[in-house]
Amino acid sequence: MKKYTESHEWVELDGKVATVGISDHAQNELGDIVYVELPEVGKEVKAGETLCSVESVKSASDVYAPVSGKVVEVNEELENAPETINKSAEKDGWIAKIEVSDPSEMDKLLSEDEYKKKIAE
């Protein structure tokens, strides 16, 4: 099931591996994304810590790890085509896969409905 953070990341858990990206709402707010500084594979992150950054024409924005664990894969397509995030933020524009250390962290995140309510505020 897909979950969201207050800081506009999405995360989907499949077994022990969580796929992470920024929400469609976030890409829309940022505008044209022109560079993604991908995390390094093997990087250990804690939930809420900076995972990497995405840069629009105007500014750089941190992407926070929704869950704790180890980065096991990154979306290298984004190096040549960062605009994929604008076109498909919650699918083809995924940023990294994290092998989670504590799956129960997922329970603390927002459901799709809760997130939609939050951004409608």
Partner: protein, 367 residues
């Protein structure tokens, strides 16, 4: 505090623009996409609401000698109907603001200044005018300003222009009717492309804006926000006050020597002459960044780890597809091809000094 609004504010919102606070003004940063808007101006035409810019009128017997003393460029060397770009300096040669000076006549000079500096500039200019026979008036609220920019600008604007646009040379202006509305029409801009800026009664702003969009439609015109305005001026290496120049930098350091007329007296001249004779300790230079994007304020280091400067502006150039920046670099690191290192998110990334401007568009002159 309530944000100030241009006469086109409601129009921007109707068009679905993303609005931001820009120096106290509620302004459109983009309508659809900065990259699309940028491209439209480079290839065809784009329209910008720049009504937030300040207009200050200097009128009186001493108008020309006073403005010559006020700014580093020379209005005495302009013909009537001609415009110059100029920094305006403090006594210590740092920059109060950069502006355009429109010479109407011996006794009338019209200054166009940056929106967020208008009040500061007006106070400064009034203070400097003591002893001169001039009247200084802030006319900012009496003008809407629209910039119509791009290689197709003249062709399109001609359809509704009562003035012969082909006769207006670069950095010249005239007055007359456009779309039946009395305007100051100048061949100026902040994009690196050919184009015009129109100054007119704010009550006519919506009618003018809509007409321009209508006649631009066959050319796929885009309404452009401040985002594209910034990327366009950045590629052309036009200064942005508050980023590339400010009250800590001088025109010589910023590479604006071409604007300075040392033949006359002006505020800041002594310090500039001294800088010129002694040599500069730093200069504004162009950089190509090898990886990532360098933003305003990021630090620059030498290969041996010494801090040698800072980034003033930077983004990924939409036209060139490269990560570029402007930076003040210390003496010894300003030569073309010099390798320096920019600290981006905690990592030092290689960059090379490259020539500026990064891009030359259809603008009629290089300056």
């Amino acid at each position: 505090m309530d944000l100030k609004k241009t006469p086109l504010n409601a129009e921007h919102k109707r068009m679905g623009a993303k609005m931001v606070d820009f120096g106290g003004w509620e302004m459109p940063v983009q309508y659809t996409s900065i990259l699309e808007e940028h491209k439209a101006v480079r290839e065809r035409v784009g329209i910008f609401d720049v009504s937030h810019m300040g207009e200050i009128l200097v009128e009186g017997k001493d108008a020309v000698p006073f403005v010559d003393h006020l700014i580093v460029n020379s209005v005495s060397k302009l013909k009537n109907g001609q415009i110059c770009y100029s920094p305006m300096c403090y006594e210590n040669a740092t920059i109060v603001d950069d502006l355009l000076a429109y010479r109407f006549s011996e006794t009338k000079i019209f200054l166009v200044v940056n929106a967020s500096n208008t009040d500061k500039d007006f106070e400064w200019i009034k203070k400097q005018s003591k002893g001169y026979d001039v009247e200084v008036t802030n006319l900012s609220a009496q003008y809407a300003q629209i910039a119509f920019q791009g290689p197709k600008a003249e062709e399109i604007l001609s359809q509704i222009s009562g003035v012969n646009l082909s006769e207006i040379e670069f950095y010249h202006f005239t007055t007359g009717r456009v779309n039946g509305i009395e305007c100051i029409v100048s061949r100026t801009g902040y994009t690196g492309e050919d184009g015009f800026e129109l100054y007119f009664n704010p009550e006519a702003a919506e009618a003018m804006w809509r007409k321009l969009l209508e006649i631009g439609k066959p050319y796929d015109i885009k309404a452009c926000g401040l985002g594209a305005r910034d990327t366009l001026r950045f590629e052309a290496c036009y200064m942005l006050y508050g980023n590339d120049i400010d009250d800590t930098t001088t025109p010589l350091e910023a590479g604006l020597k071409w604007t300075i007329d040392f033949d006359k007296d002006f505020t800041g001249k002594d310090v500039l002459l001294k800088q010129k004779e002694e040599g500069l300790t730093r200069r504004l230079r162009g950089l190509e960044i090898s990886k990532g994007i360098a933003r305003h304020g990021y630090k620059v280091f030498s290969a041996d780890g010494k801090e040698i400067g800072y980034i003033t502006s930077g983004t990924k150039s939409p036209t060139l597809g490269k990560s570029l920046a402007l930076a003040y670099l210390a003496k010894g690191y300003t030569k073309l091809g010099t390798e320096v290192f920019v600290e981006i998110h905690g990592k030092r990334v290689s960059a090379n000094v490259i020539k500026t401007p990064f891009y030359r568009g259809s603008v009629k002159s290089g300056k």
